[in-house]
């Protein structure tokens, strides 16, 4: 039974592409045995139609929490404090559970981190895909055709349908996960660390497939990862998160070519580029703050080599530097001076 609740806006080509998703000032907290932890504290970013956005940050920065909030299925002990998630013009946080469920997979799909555990071990790939297609009202022969087409899209042969999850290799599983995510022609695909569990060569192949599909089908994709080189390889724009907040966002070329926030600069140093050999790997020392406490000032200040007194006093707001480029740093105007310093290992030694 096909339930259409949200009418799809017509795709508009050109520079001024409509905003598919707008997250505004999202705050999410967790109940933990040691108290409340604010995993997401005022996150805002946009995703345009057919845009590939990389949401990058180290583990614990809140990116997965944001991703799960988008799908509407959050961890049992987490809850949304405030904010908006505006999808195709409607704030889905105001939706009833039924409306939210209708949205799932048909409009917003999800590619999990480790597809091994995300597929039911006792059913074949075919049965699980049929189950998903049934939600879109596709059954029988049309379903069979569509499954083969989907697998073909991700570069898999129809024989895969007869297999059980444990019979697939890591790369195959991720491709199956991608194929399943595309089953109902969603507008947005949220991919949570889709290639982290794979080895480098397979990573590249899966990313190529994903990028190719994204372009062909004009999908919006949010790629969540801690590896900035993945983002560099295939994303149109980047959102950098730290300790539950956005510290920098904007088009990839800008953010990677002219990183303005010190954390972004540090990240660029920490990972080898997929296409070029790394000159030097410089890890950022220290660790993120404890999110149970109310934090004062810039959260990155304790680890920042360029921090000044003001940083510890007051948290910098996310300001728009140039069109589409946002940064939260008091010293954003000095970025061109700080950038070359940031590439030196000595700067980061404490």
């Amino acid at each position: 039974m096909a339930e259409t609740l949200v009418s799809r806006p017509a795709a508009v080509l050109g520079y001024d592409v409509p905003m598919l998703l707008s997250v505004r000032d999202l705050r999410i907290a967790f109940h933990t045995p040691t108290g409340e932890a604010r995993a997401v504290d005022g996150v805002s970013f946009d995703v345009r139609q057919a845009e590939m956005v990389g949401l990058v940050g180290e583990s614990g920065c809140g990116k997965t929490t944001v991703a799960r909030a988008l799908t509407g299925v959050m961890a049992g002990n987490s809850y949304i404090l405030s904010g908006n998630i505006v999808f195709t013009g409607h704030d889905i946080l105001n939706y009833s559970p039924e409306e939210q469920r209708a949205l799932r997979w048909r409009e917003i799909a999800f590619v999990p981190q480790s597809a091994m555990n995300s597929l039911d071990p006792v059913y074949r790939v075919e049965q699980q895909m049929r189950e998903v297609l049934r939600r879109g009202g596709i059954r029988g022969r049309p379903a069979g055709d569509r499954m083969i087409a989907l697998l073909d899209m991700v570069g898999l042969r129809p024989e895969v349908l007869r297999l059980f999850p444990h019979q697939l290799s890591g790369g195959m599983r991720q491709r199956v996960a991608i194929a399943m995510a595309l089953a109902l022609d969603p507008l947005l695909v949220v991919a949570d660390e889709p290639v982290t569990a794979l080895d480098v060569i397979v990573q590249r192949e899966v990313l190529d497939t994903l990028r190719d599909l994204q372009r062909r089908l004009r999908l919006a994709v949010i790629m969540i990862t801690h590896d900035i080189s993945v983002v560099a390889y295939c994303c149109d724009s980047i959102v950098v998160m730290y300790a539950g907040q956005v510290v920098e966002s904007g088009p990839s070329t800008t953010v990677l070519g002219e990183p303005t926030h010190p954390y972004t600069m540090g990240l660029c140093n920490a990972f080898p580029d997929l296409e070029r050999a790394a000159d030097m790997l410089v890890p950022i020392q220290g660790s993120p703050p404890d999110l149970h406490e109310t934090l004062k000032g810039c959260r990155f200040a304790p680890r920042c080599p360029f921090a000044i007194d003001h940083c510890a006093q007051e948290a910098p707001p996310l300001t728009e530097l140039a069109s589409g480029h946002h940064v939260a740093c008091w010293r954003d105007t000095e970025a061109s001076v700080l950038r070359p310093l940031a590439t030196k290992a000595a700067t980061w030694m404490r």
């Binding site: 509407g72 039911d120 071990p121 006792v122 444990h166």
Partner: protein, 324 residues
């Protein structure tokens, strides 16, 4: 399971059974008292006794008797009962269906109830229903089955008169054939109390197992993923969670059949149910060791076979195990 693994399993099974048979054989032969004590009339003369001993092969050396026993066993002969003076095999075969029917019907009830109740309790985690039910369920596993049988008998048979007090059929009842007998109202009427007793005792295991499996499975990633896919709650719980949670329960069922056949001994005694267990008790009390041996062997075989079946069942239901 591959043919090779199956063969290996069968070999293991046969080995265990052989060890059991041998142990049994020597155990009974070494028991104090003359083996024919039950059989021999005190009025018999020593010559008559000697003839009997010879007939039963008891005057031969022990190892010869053992070999003879094994040979007979392979030919399907379990010897002659001292008390009943009939072939052990036919006596046991008459008792076997009674035990099987009792076991199977009680397990069916126990597992059907246990699975549903277990899933229900898993869904009611943290509520007062759970807090109240769990102690009872645990206590049900602490019940001596024969005592439960006694209480049920006293209440429903003697006090209320709703059910007969024992046996599998009313005395004097006759039936054209075995099928008619087992499907008769009389038989079923007699079956109710013993089956219920066993079922109450047995349901604790599938219930607790199902409950803990469901709780675990609901935390699994693929269940969370099903929710993200927007599948209905019904689909998630039945098609995914329950299906996965049932695997160990199905195995437990197969194992349960095996261990129940032997464990029914006491219930069969309370209700005078004419099954294998009762035969065993009778035989051991009367030192009728061919019968005792035969009954024990049959029970042990059933258990070992069902253990093997349990592994097969698990291998079939869990595709991860089946392909090796």
């Amino acid at each position: 399971m591959t043919g090779r693994a199956l063969l290996h399993r069968l070999g293991q099974m046969l080995f265990v059974l052989w060890v059991v048979t041998t142990l049994l054989f020597f155990l009974f032969r070494l028991m104090p008292g003359s083996p024919l004590a039950a059989y021999i009339d005190t009025s018999m003369t020593p010559e008559q006794q000697a003839i009997l001993m010879h007939q039963f092969g008891l005057d031969r050396p022990l190892h010869e008797q053992y070999v003879l026993y094994l040979v007979n066993l392979l030919h399907g002969s379990l010897g002659y009962s001292f008390i009943y003076k009939e072939p052990v095999g036919s006596l046991l075969l008459a008792a076997l269906p009674n035990t099987l029917l009792l076991t199977l019907s009680s397990l069916l009830i126990a597992y059907a109830f246990g699975i549903l109740a277990g899933a229900f309790l898993a869904a009611r985690r943290g509520t007062w229903i759970e807090a109240v039910s769990l102690p009872f369920v645990l206590a049900s596993r602490a019940l001596p089955e024969f005592w439960l049988g006694m209480v049920l008998l006293a209440i429903f048979s003697f006090a209320f008169g709703w059910f007969p007090a024992g046996g599998a059929t009313s005395p004097g009842a006759s039936f054209p054939n075995a099928w008619a007998r087992f499907t008769s109202v009389d038989f079923l009427h007699h079956l109710v109390l013993p089956a219920l007793t066993l079922a109450i005792f047995l349901q604790g295991l599938p219930l607790l197992l199902m409950r803990s499996n469901m709780l675990e499975v609901m935390q699994e990633e693929f269940v969370v993923m099903s929710r993200i896919k927007g599948l209905s709650e019904w689909t998630i719980i039945i098609r995914h969670a329950a299906r996965n949670a049932l695997l160990p329960v199905a195995t437990a069922l197969a194992l349960g059949i095996g261990s129940s056949i032997g464990g029914n001994v006491v219930v069969e005694s309370v209700f005078s149910w004419p099954g294998l267990g009762r035969r065993l008790v009778e035989a051991v009390s009367a030192s009728d060791y061919p019968l005792a041996q035969g009954a024990f062997l049959m029970i042990a075989t059933a258990q070992v076979v069902m253990n093997c079946v349990a592994d097969l069942v698990y291998a079939t239901l869990d595709p991860r195990v089946g392909q090796r």
